[in-house]
Amino acid sequence: MTRPARYSAYGLARRGLTGAAWPPAWRAHELRPSYDVVIVGGGVHGLATAHYLAAKHGITNVALLERGYLGGGGSGRNTAIIRSNYLTPEGVRFYDRSLTLYESLAADLNFNVMFSQRGHLTLAHSDSALRTMRWRAEVNKLQGVDSELLDPAEIAGLVPHVDVSDQPRYPIVGGLFHPPGGIVRHDAVVWGYARAADANGVHLHQDTEVVGIDVVDGRVRGVRTNRGPIAAPVVVNCTAGWSSLVCELAGVEVPITTYPLQAAVTEPVRPFLDTVVVSGTLHVYVSQTDRGELVFGASVDPYPSYSTRGSLEFTEGVATHVLELMPALAKLRVLRQWAGLCDMTPDFSPIMGRTPVDGFYVDIGWGTYGFKAGPVAGETMAELVATGTTPELIAAFDLARFAEGRLVGERGAAAVGH
């Protein structure tokens, strides 16, 4: 293992003075003819899986194949919200482990991922929304996760710009506050994992597209890429947006429908919004980055597509809903909008683990909540690949549940789950 140059304030100052360049965070390699493990997808899930395989299990003969550039898919297009206040005990436990990993990620990777635990506030505009929030709060508390119901006055204290009067079309009747939640610099998570995986010997291959998966007698034998074939006894599908198509290459059918999810960012303004604010009824979530921009997201587009062109309806809808919540923001301007692809499953929960093809594993179906699960997904998938045993944390997310009618209860929750 080659240790990378350590990042620190001292290092910055020294190199600033001497003009010495930092070494590359990762390197390019030729494809080897075979690897012990091939990971498809260079987003946070694939990179975290590669990192934990190498760092925790000593499996370093690993190739990670990315069709474009690292973090160019969902990992670079999400709104970077981290939280663990889910509805079901299995969901809460799983995401809480992820949040714990996020808390120490900067130190573990020696890469500041800028995890800002500023709190996550979900607003309720109806009795039924409040009921679902109490449900979440109660389940969270039982799992040791900090979640509490707030009344409108407490909300006004937390987010002064929010209109808690009875004037809005959907007045705010309460909220669920989750102090450990927050936002993270999504690209930094990708790069931090990539740098750590590279340092441990994992080969990161960008511009490398998987065009075929070889399966013989029900066992995976390797992949074919635009740069040539690779033999491997284990292939892990960590893609998003195209996960059902990658599964199809291995002959595995998965219950996934792919929808665009749009987001937008405004011009920067001075800091005024400290928490992440979400409204399920209004289908919008808002946070302010350290750079001062407001980041907006909403629910997935109304119809499935692999197209990532933004729509006017999205920005119009977001603007309407944001101004319902915070009417003082009318003169703030939207600077950019973009879209990513979300693989939705029937029960709003991922598909993780084995498939009917031996050696072909999936870590897919992440809907709109993949980024917050990146670390724990990597950790558990690495454990599964390394030990052959499915970790308890992901047992409920197996592919067989759909054919066997054991759907995960997150579907009981409200529509927007960020």
């Binding site: 990042y7 620190s8 910055l12 600033g16 360049a21 930092w22 070494p23 965070a25 990762w26 390197r27 474009g68 550039y69 690292l70 160019g72 808390e103 900067a106 130190a107 020696n110 890469f111 500041n112 991922v113 800028m114 800002s116 039924s128 009921r131 109490r134 449900w135 709060a137 109660e138 039982l142 119901l149 959907y170 007045p171 790069w191 931090g192 960008q206 405004t266 011009e267 920067p268 303004v269 001075r270 800091p271 005024f272 350290d290 750079r291 001062g292 933004g310 006017l312 603007a319 309407t320 944001v322 003082a328 923001l329 009318a330 003169k331 703030l332 301007r333 939207v334 950019r336 009981g412």
Partner: protein, 924 residues
Amino acid sequence: MRLPPQPGEAIDRTTAFTFTWDGRSYPAYAGDTIASALAAAGVRVFSRSLKYHRPRGLLTADFHDPGCLVQVGDEPNVRAAHRRVEPGMTVRPQAVWPSLRWDVKSANQLVGKALTAGFYYKTFIKPRPLWPAYERVLRRFSPGGEVPAEPPDGRYDQRYAHPDVLVAGGGPAGLAAALAAAEAGLQVLLVDEQHELGGHLLWGDDGDRAALRDLRGAVAAADGIEVLTDAVVTGRYDGGRVVVLQRSAPGVVERLVKARPRVLVAAPGLIERPYVVAGNDLPGVLLSTAARRLVNRYAVRPGQRAVVLTANNSGDAAVGDLTRAGVDVRRVLDARRGDDVVRVRGRRGVRAVECSDGSTVACDLLVTAVGWTAPTSLLTMAGGRSRYLASAARFVPADLPDDVLAAGGIVGDGSTADLVAHGRAVGHEAARRARGLPPAHVADLEPGPHPELFHGRSNGIVDLAEDVSADDLRAAVAEGYDSIELVKRYTTATMGPTQGKLEAVNTIAVVAAATGRSIEETGTTTGRPPYVPVSLGVLAGRRYQPVRRSPMHTWHVEHGATPLVAGAWIRPDHYGDPAGEVCAVRQGVGIIDVTPLGKLALHGPDVADLLELLYVNRWRKLAVGSVRYGVMCTEDGVVLDDGVTGRLGEDRYLMTTTSSGATTVEHWVERWLQTERPHWQVHLVPMTDAYASINVAGPRSRELVGRLTDIDLAPEAFPYMRVRLGRVAGVADCVVWRIGFTGELSFELHVPAAFGQRVWEALLEVGADLGVRPFGVEAQRILRLEKGHLIVGQDTDGLTQAYGAGLDWAVKLDKDDFVGKPELAWQRARDDYLVLVGLQPVDPAVVPPESCQIIEDGQRIVGRVTSSRMSPTLDRAVCLGLVAARLSEPGTTVTVLLPDGRRVPVLVMPQLAHVDPEGVRLRG
């Protein structure tokens, strides 16, 4: 410094006024921009840069100028070189402390070498507990203006326009294209970003101005051209939708204009590119177009002594304009001959320029004319591409779809006459295509030769808005961030308010040089909407948020009802005393407005088959005059909706749904009819709004309704679960059914909507002696909970199948088919699901809040309370809840965890109903 009147000036010297900048008063003329007025008064520094807090001044002197974003009153990030100044305007610099002149954050320049791109990823890592403090400091360095605490004044709106041809850009080519299309008889919408039509002719020479006068005259005289100035096309979306932001429109702050033109003509001209060289961000470095604009439009002399670096005729013309304005042009460096600028010196502004011949020229102004960027983003949004043309040193449009054309400078170079001719040809072709004729080729305007001048030999700022230098980009490449996307993300180049317009091509060029790849291989300039930042206010428009109200709504308001927002509807939650309302119903009679109940009229010979298919229970034997409760599931067996359906005649039924499920069920029924059973003869008419619905409930309801109707209400004539048609309070065509959601004897009246209030008031009037009172949704919820009637979506969730909702009695698996049947058959064979049960806390005074969890062994969740209330009838807490099937036996004690941490015992009841489980009262 203001010059004497210029022949093409935009200012009106007869209207002078003052405004304030940074706390001081300044003079201005009408027609001035904020920046031109300040520049005329000698102000050179407008902002501090993002990272190093270096002073910044004018660069492009137009909307896209990165150095002059200011706060105007409560509006942040105003483009000072575009926004026209108004009398009394209060303008402030943004994000400086304590002042623009002495900004302590400029200390960042001292440690600048350590603040390389992405420096924050490499530090503040340990110790972890200190990161929140570091983060607060970082946030303090964020740029931008301030958002107000209160909503700003003024309205925004939106408009639909229906032009045949939309021309984006009102320079010579755009004007000519609009004229040609209008002459062909088409409706044209001509949009231009500046305050006046004319494009670069506005700051041109006498010949340019003469040509512009002719074109503007022709446009004004032409039929069918609507002109929007200070307006910009923000995007071209799917389906050919083109969106225009109109920044100044009468009566509104801003307006968004939406159109689907048959043909879009893009004639945006060219954007001048800055030169990347050390010191290129100092106040006093101007683009040639900016210098010409300042002199010719605003009569501002931008400096005293100038050096001009020119590679094209815009730079050459700037030399002439500056000289005429009395600027001492000390040196003209001709890049076409290999002259270059090595570095610009100065601290608060330009003091000298080091030239490639080794000389240093003292000056306060450097004007550069080193190349152009074609703003192709509108074309790439429309599905076209951009292609790099090395000989012209710019990207040009390629592969445009048939309904999009490009005209003028974006395509190629030429004289004003050439641009006009090209515009005319494109406008003519646009008219042909708008008429549906097959596309014909328009001869392209050839791009002229231009040297490739992106960055010089020293380290300059590439992205002035984000303070990203060429060395930052090179360092990113060296660290492995070697594709253009990674470089952008790592350095934030092109991510700022200029959106890449000024810096994208220079960024690509620097990265190309650093990686050894060509510009073409390195990146393209694919546009994404919006082309310019668009306010939330104008995107939201008038924020039309429809609500639905029953015909009795005004009565409720006048009688003190507390409103409840229930989805689309506003309903009375209660009239001040929900418990009293409950007692009135249990002991006498009450009336509730249930208009939001979904109502669907079904006609035809196959309605019974339809009901058999969509409901889990049986319908074929429903007699005329009878009603029945039904439950619908989706194909996965999950409960979708419930309600009562009655048979009004041989082939005539009325279906009711839950209020929240009304639309869903209507579409659900239509979908099964249209797609799975198209041969069935069933006609569906949504009736929710056609009827006002009133439920009259309580032991004296028969007496009350009897006073107003000719229908025989005697128990034997009108038994429970029957429907009758007749007059109520003199209103004909009412539907009355005898059902009992509240658990009491009750009659539900569906009366033609226009007569709703009349019947409502009549009931209250004639029932005064019976003690009739209105009751609201809250009382109804208590009543139904006492009776154990479930609410779909509250006592069930997105996974609750029919057997889990305690609906075993309704599901008829021996039917041949119904929606969801296979899943329900399999569900019945299992016992791994939650079951809905009646629950009563052992302590009658404890009401567990809804959603409290039912737990086992300390913390394992085995169910939850779905509904709970204090029952005024029983004077004790009553609940419904979902529990694990093995705990659903009557008499089982389960543990409920309260929000305050207490664990309380709760008894599972033998049935869902807490009050009158035998149903004596409702059958009475």
